[in-house]
Symmetry: C2
Subunit: 445 residues, 2 copies
């Protein structure tokens, strides 16, 4: 497949370190890589030297061109259970849901279908990379490779057999097998993903860190999401979630901690000292009444805060634009500071910061020469896009997922004019409709 292409006449929001914005810009893609970035007129002047002769030309007029969004915390498979259970505290809500999941997720095929539905939603909304945490991650990887989604995933760890029936030894073997099979694939990220410190004890956490380190993979875990969770760890181990993770050697620059809503100053210091990345999931924290993560404090301490949607059962969708706008607004009110979290910071949380957390800032997260061609085009002709005094302010405070018209990952076009190219939406839709009664019935069984 020839992925040589040119996009020209676009408003380029690079999301690079310096927040560079370039009007009437062009990029040249060759294979999976951005080969050239510059003013459209420079490209025109020196076309033969800059672009391959067979490059397909895409007109970016009336579009913003920017990197694809990086969702650092999803549970795509949970798309199967969207809206099934509502209005319960986190622990009760999980236990209710698990009744249905225990039946439905026995099937690897269902896990694959859930991943596909989630990817469909993410791709249409301009998310090009997602760190996904789910049962049967090998199904998610397979679905991602088919769909062209850039995935970060890995073996999950629970000490007690989960709804899939696997023991912790099975999980260790599965985590290692994922690395063996996909660890060398430069297009995706493999790691280890214990569920949480209250569901996977210190030994399992240590084992997961060890496997990640041995394979140069990432490590991610739910951490300090709720008060109940912190209390559980205090009761069980006489320590706190982040301290436990630190003692297990789990805090490093390869680590992404999901949530960190209830962390004390010393825990923040521990994360900062160890260059640990945090994934902020504002919508989930609101809907599940978990609270307001101390994002400003963490950023002030130099922690790399990234952004996630969490799963579609705590959302009920996976909309990174919504997450970005929430991140840029809720802390203003929570901290009583209208300057808290600038639009530039919020945009980086959804792009470059995610790339940094994956140790992949030279590969994705910004539009720069030499990086992978993971980019999106957004329509800016809607009434909510005018006037536009600052494209970054527009992206954070006014744009939405439906403005995304075209999506490319490693140079491969996965969405064209708001239509999925790599997933068969009518087929997915039919299979979901067929499965839906069983999802509901399992809950009531």
């Amino acid at each position: 497949m020839n992925n040589n292409l040119i996009v020209k006449n676009a408003l380029l929001v690079t999301c690079d370190e310096n927040h560079n914005v370039l009007e009437d810009a062009a990029i040249v893609v060759s294979g999976n890589t951005i080969k050239w970035v510059g003013p459209s007129q420079n490209l025109e002047r020196d076309l033969d030297n800059i672009a391959p002769a067979d490059a397909k030309i895409i007109d970016g007029s009336n579009k913003i061109l920017m990197p694809g969004l990086i969702n650092m915390h999803s549970h795509c498979g949970d798309s199967l259970f969207r809206g099934l259970v509502e209005n319960l505290p986190l622990e009760q809500w999980l236990q209710t849901l698990w009744k249905s999941q225990a039946v439905i997720l026995r099937s690897a095929e269902n896990c694959r279908l859930g991943a596909q539905l989630g990817f469909a939603e993410l791709l249409l909304g301009g998310t090009t990379t997602t760190m996904d945490n789910y049962w049967r991650p090998e199904q998610s990887v397979a679905a991602a490779l088919d769909a062209g989604m850039r995935i970060a995933t890995g073996g999950i760890f629970f000490d007690t057999p989960g709804m899939d029936g696997f023991t912790i030894d099975d999980r260790v073997a599965q985590a290692e097998a994922l690395f063996a099979e996909h660890g060398n694939n430069e297009e995706i990220f493999i790691g280890t993903m214990p569920h949480g410190t209250y569901t996977a004890g210190p030994d399992s956490i240590r084992k997961a860190v060890e496997i990640a380190n041995e394979n140069d993979g990432f490590f991610s875990v739910h951490a300090a999401e709720t008060k109940v969770e912190q209390q559980t760890i205090r009761d069980r181990y006489q320590t706190s979630v982040i301290r436990l993770l630190n003692d297990a050697g789990a805090l490093s620059s390869r680590t992404a901690l999901a949530h960190c809503v209830h962390v004390d100053d010393e825990e923040i210091e521990l994360m900062a000292t160890n260059n640990t990345n945090v994934v902020h999931n504002p919508l989930s924290n609101l809907k599940l009444a978990s609270g307001f993560a101390p994002v400003c404090k963490m950023m002030d301490k130099g922690i790399n805060v990234t952004l996630g949607t969490d799963g579609p059962i705590s959302g009920n969708d996976m909309d990174m634009w919504f997450a970005m706008r929430l991140a840029a607004t809720i802390h203003k009110a929570a901290d009583e500071n209208p300057s808290a979290i600038s639009s530039h910071q919020a945009l980086h949380m959804a792009t470059l910061n995610g790339a940094r957390a994956l140790s992949a800032e030279d590969m994705i997260g910004s539009i720069e020469e030499g990086e992978r061609a993971d980019f999106i085009l957004l329509d800016i002709t809607g009434p909510h896009a005018m006037p536009m005094f600052d494209p970054v302010s527009h992206l954070v405070f006014s744009a939405s997922k439906n403005d995304v018209s075209d999506v490319f990952i490693s140079g491969r076009q996965v969405v064209a004019n708001r239509k999925l190219l790599t997933l068969d939406m009518p087929d997915i839709s039919q299979r979901i409709a067929k499965l839906q009664p069983a999802v509901k019935a399992a809950l009531e069984a």
Copy 2:
């Protein structure tokens, strides 16, 4: 114009008092009114008796049919200044903005253009009624009548001459003139709209109430939005905002108080006792760091809480779906209660409660026989809409403005397949582009 039409095979979310939902439903519209509501098969069976012979048939398969949303607090004209000033506390932010507004809004034509841009956004997103508070409200009314938007607006009151140069006496005359000209138009709502108790003193408030009462109109005012505002009223009048309004006779069932973020228990009691309506504007309260309105407490006291977007300079858009989802989630976290504000409550805030605040619950806000045909169709084929276990949960927690495909107001179709029928978007776009440099330049002058 013949507005006789049938919509059939739709998933009907009535938003009526009992939250009735009807699968495979149909409605029949004759002129500006919903004449019949029921199962599609009943319509088929008795078509000749139920529907006019010349009725246009619309297939509602794969769509939700529901009432148009009612935005109880907008400043559509501020669309001209979207994103112009960011990251300042409310008072500073207003003062900076006013520099540009003072130049731009001298022109009635610009006020009209701003209203049109705002209506375009609202209509495309399925908002059919908006209570709009802006300079030169006669321009908003004219634009609304052209666009088919159902507007609630009225004369504004400032004690000092505003950027339009009018004195308080001018404003009183203008408020009365609006009633004289449009008070008998049954398709729109006229009221009086003092800006706030800190910008319009007790005498002006009293006068505004008097004019509203004399003309059987509504009364609306910004109230208790910020701590600074409450402090100002304390310093100036040794009372509080809601007490001042009560003393001025401004609390009644015809009154809609925008914001009410900083109100004490006694003020809540005063509003409840007087059947005063509150307009919650969650996004604005977050972005301007105003705080979290005590919505649950107010609802527990029986106050009718409605929903607004506020203007697009504190948003930066006017997206009622976003407002609805925020209303349904932020109070869960703020009150540490995952059951706070159910999806049904949130949906009513955006529909029926707005109608009640306008004393128009027999006219708009729900899909019932005899009401005006203000309804919208939403596409439910997107990945974020499946599976759907509960359409109300879908509408509140997963749907977005871009799902709205068709919009009808008083039987007149204003949006068809996501395209505006009653506003010339390319023309508006060109005029905005032409005005944009002056908006910016005025800020820096």
